[in-house]
Symmetry: C2
Subunit: 378 residues, 2 copies
């Protein structure tokens, strides 16, 4: 059959193709008896432990939304109570708390668990890694989810993407960064892989809790800090004390947030509730990136028009060197950990193809189609 006939047949409805289903979890509908099989007498009261402050803009709000959607969809059979970091357990104990079953579901970002699972970082963000759209594509359509599920299953957890920040900002600096030389000795709050890369460039990565950051930057304890993007950065007030705001956020080009559910409890759930949680997380993924994009657009404008922030861009030669340091850092991690190697290989092989496709689609959208924005940069 010629290829064109494939579609021609379809257009006339004469072909009956086997349908490829790539959804998450669940058994085929056809295997079950038809009709309602919901158990309305069994209800679930779950606790969600999160790594965010309670009701934290976008991220914590998202957890609240998920809980609301799950309750609505389940007709009140599943209620999830959301706890901010520190309310039930400290933020960074969320993973172990859900693993043990002391809470049933958690929310965070996979790179928080790099200490116990180095490979987890690829499911959140790595410097010079994929952006939100590519990462979603790898996870949903490129085999990423299968690997992630395998890895988390070892910890009795079921992972799912629950949002993305989009491309982050490069951070706030009390001096201009014009050369690699300017990174030497720079004291910056930049955790995780980004921090490791900065150290290779001669800077030092300083760990400071969010609540103490403003003061540390104001008093010169640090020279610079990254946070998230214009919306959250504005609320932190960094523009009041740091002179330069740098883009792009090379260290986090699209950070995925995650939900993780205790696997024993998840497996015991009826299919309807499993699918309800999965769908609520997917809906949140869509909501969160959209909300970040909308809010960042508004607050970037505010920062520049009202606060007259000095926006600066990292020079390409600086970024290229940081990219080299990133490759060295990832090489080191994957050399000593076979699971990281396996995930990195999948990530990179997907990225190679997706990157080429992006270069003629999304990249050309920005370079050739979207109207240039000018005249608003100080």
């Amino acid at each position: 059959m010629k290829r064109k006939d494939f579609f021609k047949g379809l257009a006339f409805g004469t072909l009956s193709l086997p349908l490829v289903i790539r959804g998450l979890g669940g058994k085929s509908v056809g295997q079950r008896q038809s009709g309602a099989y919901i158990n309305t007498t069994k209800t679930y009261e779950w606790d969600m432990v999160t790594t965010w402050p309670p009701n934290f803009p976008v991220l914590g709000e998202g957890c609240n939304l998920l809980a609301r959607w799950v309750e609505e969809m389940s007709g009140g059979r599943m209620k999830i109570k959301v706890y901010g970091g520190g309310e039930l357990v400290p933020a960074l104990e969320a993973f172990d708390t859900v693993r043990s079953g002391a809470a049933q579901i958690g929310c965070g970002a996979a790179y928080y668990w790099a200490g116990k699972i180095p490979a987890a970082q690829f499911f959140a963000s790595v410097p010079f890694g994929m952006n939100a759209q590519q990462l979603n594509a790898w996870i949903v359509g490129g085999g990423g989810l299968r690997l992630w599920e395998e890895i988390y299953a070892e910890f009795n957890l079921v992972p799912m993407v629950g949002g993305n920040t989009g491309v982050q900002m490069g951070g706030w600096f009390n001096r201009e960064i014009n050369s690699l030389e300017d990174l030497k000795g720079l004291k910056m709050r930049i955790p995780g892989l980004g921090g490791k890369v900065l150290e290779r460039a001669g800077g030092s990565s300083v760990l400071i809790p969010g609540g103490e950051l403003f003061t540390a930057l104001e008093r010169g304890v640090i020279d610079a800090t990254e946070w998230i993007g214009p919306y959250h950065d504005y609320k932190m007030g960094f523009h009041q004390i740091a002179e330069y705001y740098y883009a792009p956020g090379w260290h986090e080009p699209g950070t995925a947030l995650e939900f993780f559910v205790n696997k024993t409890l998840y497996d015991e759930l009826p299919v309807d509730l499993q699918q309800i949680i999965q769908s609520a997380a997917a809906k949140l993924n869509n909501w969160m990136l959209s909300e970040f994009e909308a809010k960042n657009a508004i607050y970037l404008d505010k920062l520049i028009q009202e606060e007259h922030v000095k926006l600066r861009f990292f020079k390409q030669e600086i970024l290229d060197k940081l990219r080299d340091y990133t490759a060295e850092t990832l090489e080191e991690i994957t050399a000593s950990d076979p699971i990281s190697r396996k995930v990195y290989d999948s990530y990179q092989s997907f990225r190679k193809k997706a990157g080429f496709w992006s270069s003629i689609s999304e990249e050309r959208y920005f370079s050739q189609i979207q109207e240039k924005q000018t005249g608003v940069i100080n």
Copy 2:
């Protein structure tokens, strides 16, 4: 209170902020009595009429997935039978069929209804308009959905986004396009606004059903055709007969697919089923763009490595002129239709801010962060 204290407070869990909920539809959970309130005796057997051939890759598959997810989440209380275009009613009658209630839900793309609602085009794609991520952000976080719901309510329909193709390809050409001169007299299958723009450039937009396209291009009835992107284009076999494959798809930089539900029937649904349909559509939005990105990456590679397709890029001067013609076309539409004007104003005002944010985030991701892909273009 200083801004930094806002977050500091949060970090210690001492602030009780009012939670802003921006979800779709539904009443506040707090207004209902707690406990299970699902009516398990009432079941729904719905028909979905679509504008796609049955089981059409990605788009039709997506409709099948939505039906499966809704059935799973509702515990079999709602079953949706999916019909391809022409199976129950002709593809382009889907809108009116759902409006009348003869079918309960439909799937298509909003620009198909431009004849009766010119403003609908902004909820699908317009030439040189927003890409998928920006469009989602406008719809979810920029007021787009409210406008869309208002407009469709006049037709007794509830709209929701149900996917996106991502940036499309520019099409297949039997000759190179090196100047605006080369567009004069060009007979191309390019429907909708893209076709109107081509006509302003001196070409002619020819309407040919999908099933007859291959033959028309092979026999020289047309000189060029656009379709979707590498995956679908490969299956159509255009590379067997057209010499040049052009990017980028200026005419459709990220086309949203839609579901529309009969509003009378939607309003009568219990909240759980309303939210289940909304969440399934949002999950599909995420799945579809990811699936398009993953498949297009693989098939672009195939087209170039195995089929040795000649990839070409539209010159900037050609695109700039087509952008001018697009502005004229949109001016004409919005001048004569106040609803289009209102939607276009919202679209453009969001785009202005989002475009600036994109220019320092996503655009710089592609120009500065993502590794350059070279050496694979013929």
